[in-house]
């Protein structure tokens, strides 16, 4: 097979997106839906077929030269290597299942063409990020996922708050993109190339100061896309979009793009110890911040959104602790179980009659099909990190990497990770108990759950539960498959004595169990939500929106108002209007001279004649003086 065929992985979803965009509404609905699913499924199959190309040094394929000017030579190139291949497989696989789910979820929606073309376009853009060999191609995908995210969050744009949530997500992530853009241009200025592999190869020749700044810029770019601490406010509001969108974009794939970016640039980023500490710190702070917020949320999807932020925080910590394999491992298992949780949450919302508030649910285990409870529970135990689930092993690997890091400050981050794990177990089981246990407290009429909304959950639930198999640590007899697969890309090898590992595992089990028991104790029998200052503080996400409003939005609005009414309207408009008024009044005076009477003009004519005559006389007299 020709390696250029790798582009099919990328271009099939794009092709389907374009067809749906142009002709979707004229095609039969079934055709549009089947095409959308097929495009992504074909990309998945192709990824499996091309798997061999990723081994060793990977395969580079150039489709065409994009820009060529002087020394600038930017080609539309793909790099299907060991880092990209598992991520591609995960994205296309999860996206296929979510597309199937979406067909059923959106069956009453009239704008199916817009929905599926944006969803397919998103898959294309996401794959562009993953497979890009070139920062410009990566940036194309980076902006593309932002655009699709914006369009899909505000999919039901007739409700103003949805449109506002979309705009907010777009603007906040754009802040991060600016930093990424700066990093890109700076890297180009330093290395003279935009090829990611070449930049990584030349990373050692960059001065340490520039390296630190570049790493921090990349980190900020990643923060925007991955909803990490300074730029995290958009993710919870992004839940305004349809549930398949939340599952695909805001849980499984797009929000992990930041982690992937840092892993891609790991050879560069890892050269600066300060930057690595910063990445870990951002991850740790976000993890615990989001976990505390999730404890007080009332809407099922917002709980999951905050848990996503928290888990992505773990991935950042993994990158910061130097283990790319650990980060990617958690990224993969998280994608599976979080997609399950979101899709099951969509089913739950259906069952509760479009009710989002978990305090108005309850007893849904008996109300709907019992399998829904089991798949949700499967996702929940992975998230909570109960032993032997995929989430347990991946999270444990990260905590181990933090614990064994030579720098003692990482012990503090490890502690934060442990506390976050406790909170995670608590809020996860709080969610499970409130939604499924007890009596039904709501009033909504359940919608039926079609088969297509139910079976795509199973493969993902199994993948989440058994995800530990991908990278089973050595001390429990596993082969660390993923770590070996990444080889020299895997980052720092985490080695310690088995005793320490068993101790950490024991601690993790104890923490998860403690969280479960706490939730069991508190929510086994339904209790009304607490209404105090702390819960309001956590519900509003530590008032982050108000803070951003106060620090950025309000000064900006004030400045805009000053520019508009102070400068534009008063100064510029005033000056120009004043000049115009002056000209009008002078004109009004002058117009009186145009009497329209012949005599006036004749006398003016005579006066002019006299003046001319006088002038000539004067000249004559002067001339005569010579």
């Amino acid at each position: 097979m020709n390696e250029s065929l790798l582009f099919l992985i990328l271009l099939l979803p794009l092709f389907c997106a374009v067809i749906n965009m142009l002709f979707g509404m004229r095609l039969p609905r079934l055709f549009a839906e089947v095409m959308a699913v097929t495009g992504v499924a074909a990309a998945f199959v192709l990824t499996i077929l091309f798997w061999g190309y990723a081994e060793g040094e990977g395969t580079r394929a150039v489709l065409f030269t994009w820009l060529n000017s002087g020394s600038v030579d930017i080609s539309f190139a793909l790099n299907f290597d060991r880092l990209a291949a598992p991520m591609t497989l995960m994205v296309t696989g999860v996206a296929t299942l979510i597309h199937l789910y979406a067909v059923s979820y959106m069956h009453k929606e009239d704008d199916y063409a817009r929905f599926f073309s944006l969803l397919n376009l998103f898959v294309f853009a996401m794959l562009a990020i993953i497979l890009a060999d070139n920062m410009l191609v990566l940036f194309l995908g980076w902006e593309g996922v932002g655009l699709c995210s914006y369009g899909l969050i505000g999919f039901w744009y007739r409700k103003l708050e949805n449109a506002k949530a979309g705009t907010k997500a777009f603007l906040v992530t754009r802040v991060g993109d600016v930093f990424l853009g700066i990093a890109m241009l700076w890297l180009f200025a330093l290395t003279g190339t935009l090829s990611i592999s070449e930049i990584n190869a030349q990373a050692t020749s960059i001065s340490s100061g520039a390296l630190l700044a570049l790493s921090l810029l990349l980190l900020l770019g990643a923060c925007g896309k991955s909803a990490q601490l300074p730029l995290m406010t958009w993710l919870a509001d992004a839940m305004a979009g349809p549930t398949p969108v939340s599952a695909l974009i805001h849980a499984a794939t797009m929000v992990t793009a930041g982690v992937y970016l840092l892993c891609r640039f790991f050879p560069l980023v890892s050269l600066s110890a300060v930057a690595m500490t910063a990445i870990t710190a951002i991850g740790a702070l976000t993890a615990i911040y989001a976990a505390t917020c999730a404890m007080a949320q009332r809407e099922i999807k917002r709980v999951l959104a905050y848990s996503t932020m928290s888990q992505v925080g773990y991935m950042f910590m993994a990158v910061g602790a130097g283990t790319v394999a650990g980060a990617m491992f958690h990224l993969l298992t998280h994608a599976f179980f979080k997609a399950v949780l979101f899709m099951a949450a969509g089913c739950v919302i259906h069952l509760a009659g479009d009710e989002n508030d978990i305090f108005k649910m309850g007893g849904l285990a008996r109300r709907g099909p019992v399998e829904l409870f089991w798949v949700f529970l499967a996702g929940a135990v992975c998230l909570a990190g109960l032993p032997l689930t995929g989430g347990f092993f991946s999270k444990d690997g990260i905590l181990l990497a933090l614990f064994t890091h030579p720098d003692p400050t990482y012990k503090m981050f490890w502690l934060i990770g442990i506390v976050t794990a406790l909170l995670t177990a608590f809020y996860t089981f709080r969610l499970v108990y409130l939604v499924f246990a007890g009596e039904y407290r709501g009033t909504g009429q359940p919608h039926s759950l079609p088969l297509m909304m139910r079976w795509p959950l199973w493969p993902l639930a199994l993948l989440g539960l058994l995800g530990g198999m991908f990278n089973l640590p050595a001390f429990v007899g596993g082969g660390e498959t993923l770590h070996h697969w990444y080889g020299d890309l895997a980052g720092r090898a985490v080695t310690t004595s088995h005793a320490v590992e068993w101790m950490l595992v024991g601690l993790a089990v104890a923490i998860a169990a403690l969280g479960w028991f706490a939730a069991h104790h508190r929510y086994r029998n339904y209790q009304a939500p607490l209404e105090n200052g702390v819960s309001r503080f956590l519900l509003s996400g530590w008032h982050a929106d108000a803070l951003v409003n106060f620090v950025f939005v309000r000064p900006f609005t004030a400045m805009a108002r000053f520019c508009s009414s102070g400068c534009d309207r008063s100064l510029f408009d005033g000056t120009i209007n004043g000049l115009a008024r002056l000209a009008t009044s002078w004109g009004g005076t002058l117009v009186q001279m145009a009497t329209g009477r012949l005599t006036t003009y004749l006398s003016a004519f005579a006066w002019g004649f006299l003046i001319l005559l006088g002038w000539f006389l004067l000249k004559l007299v002067n001339g005569g003086g010579h």
Binding site: V591, Q592, M593, A594, T595, G596, R597, L598, T599, L602, S603, A606
Partner: protein
Amino acid sequence: MMVPFGHAIAFAGALFVLGLTCVLLRREILMILIGVEIMLNAASLVFVAASAYWQQPDGQVFVILLMAITAAEVAVALAMVVYLWRRKRTLVADEFNGMRG
């Protein structure tokens, strides 16, 4: 007997001022037109006098041209006077102020 050049110029000047005064002070259009004719005649007189003084024919050529133009001008002007009379039944110039700004 040659009339001295200075006399001719002085006479033409006096005639011109008389015509101008007529144009400026009279209110009827017809009288203004007559004033204009007098001023034109004064100009013709200067041409003739200058022609005689410098012994050049150009001035006389000009006067003949001027006569033709004056005849045409009077024809057009009188037609307009008739037209204006029909419009307003008056020939007072100040009554026609439709071009006021």
